[in-house]
Amino acid sequence: MILLALLLSVSGAAVEVSWEVGWAGQPVVSVVNPLWLTVSNPSAQPFSGEVQVRGTAGSPWRGEATRTASAPIFLAPWGRTTLVLPWSVDPGMTGLQVRVFSGETEVFAREVALRLEAARLHGGIGPPGMWPRIFLSPADLPDDPLLLWPFSELEVSVPLALPAAEVVRAWQAFLGGKSSFGRSGVASVQGEPLRQRLRALRPAPPIWSVLVPGIVLYLVALGPGLGGLARGRAGLLRVLVALFLGLSLCYSVFRESAEGLSSVSVRITSGDVSRFSLELVGIISWRAGQSVLPGWWHELLPSRGWTGFDLRWAHTPDGWTTVFSLTPGVPRIFLRVAPEDEEGTGGGEPISPPSWLQQTLDLPWEEAQVQRIPPSSREAESFHVALP
């Protein structure tokens, strides 16, 4: 036993992990839930490694998409740490796999079953009351309003400090929450209209002025060429095919430099919330590849066809990053509640909201002001929606 304990302590292999998914252990489907992971090091050696959480959403008919979060952990001897991860629970995610690695060695692995709640929760902030709802103390309120998304309604019965009040206001303004604390804003976000918009954005459309006359000329010239071949004179057809092969090769090489990525970004701010804004980003690519968004982003999945919609959140020294692959022609849509940029986005041109934007965001449009922001180099379109 002593030898075994010594071996475990030398290899750093002994860690214990406990977890809880969702408020009061009730993960709500299609929103971001808090995932508390407590990692303990019961050995006399410090532990350095990585904790990895992986879940699979979807089904064979809908297609399956994996979500993976990985974060480094450093534990002092007999130390303990609790990580709060934002975790997107999507339909079909009936379990999570929690693994801890020390270098390349897996030192802990466990499957966690999830019992998903279809409806968002009712909760309260303050002392527990009579109703069977979830009560939070002000100290339980997270820094990221996304973690309050599982609640549809919160009854606030105690005064809140300014940072906590901002989190609740942001949840109410951007995530369809209801409380006596400020006004409601964005009731819901629909991914499909934005997906359609993205599909219509080609980074660089075909050069029709070259393509159409070229194809017509080629097809017309093939008539005499094939006739000549039938009469035993293959020269004309050979020249024709070689000429148009060369032209199409030039076209193909010339078009390689065309931009392969388009995106639409929408930033929603509210007069009630000064510290946060809701950000919505849609990306479509015409080339297969991988892309990275700084920060932690939740993905709005389409109704089906989830194969290839894998996502990885990695914790780096600069914070969370969201890493995802891009399949040509397949849009991916992400949202987050981000700390508000103090510089703001001035200089936009006021416009009336496009119909796809109105269909994407369910909010009081008659009170909203929309600006088109001059896009940065890789963006196709950028908008700022200001709620009063």
């Binding site: 095919v241 199409s248 297969a288 022609g329 397949v330």
Partner: protein, 200 residues
């Protein structure tokens, strides 16, 4: 024994039609509102059109009567190459618009060559088996439709539609189907050559 023409006049229209429909399919795929569907539309149309053309080429070749099998084989390969040559400019344009890699284009061209050859062999052999013109029509095009669409329903690898799309997108899933076509093409070649030796 009369020498068959280098390129029979009866094939002018099928070849020209193949080129026109391929060009049309390219334009339609570029204009299609759903870019993901448009991406695969041209390739799938090309596979089907090439299959139809190859069947007609094989049948026309059979109509020239007995010829040395080695020469016949070369003619089938040459006509297959002509069809591929006619469609290659469209493939290169499609590459530009879908950002496919050059290896993917090379693999796709290779597969189309084998695919066309196999179906021209089918077209060549069918008149020996099915004498009735009406029945042969159904066997020819029905067989092509079954071979291209039936595997899709069962997730089997034999359809040219899925093989070409997999190669174009750089997936390895096209290899089993390509292997099947290569095997069929190789067997057909051996059979033709063996028959030529026995005949001589």
């Amino acid at each position: 024994m009369t020498r068959p023409p280098l390129f029979p006049e009866a094939l002018i229209t099928p070849y020209h039609g193949f080129a026109i429909l391929s060009g049309g399919a390219l334009l339609v795929s570029l204009l299609w509102p759903d870019s993901q569907f448009g991406r695969s539309l041209f390739l799938q149309a090309l596979v089907l059109l090439q299959g139809i053309l190859s069947l007609q080429v094989g049948e026309a070749e059979h109509g020239f009567g007995p010829q040395p099998m080695g020469e016949r084989l070369l003619r089938l390969l040459l006509w297959d190459l002509w069809a591929l040559g006619l469609a290659s400019p469209f493939l290169l344009v499609h590459r530009a618009e879908t950002a496919a890699s050059w290896p993917a284009v090379a693999l796709s061209l290779g597969f189309l060559f084998v695919h066309g050859f196999v179906w021209s062999l089918v077209g060549y052999l069918l008149p020996r088996v099915v004498r009735s013109d009406g029945l042969r029509f159904f066997a020819k095009y029905g067989g092509l439709a079954l071979a291209e669409f039936l595997p899709l329903g069962f997730g089997l690898p034999g359809s040219g539609l899925t093989v070409l799309l997999a190669f174009w997108e750089g997936h390895s899933g096209g290899w089993p189907g390509a292997g099947l076509y290569l095997g069929l093409g190789g067997l057909g070649t051996l059979w033709l050559l063996g028959k030529g030796r026995r005949g001589s």
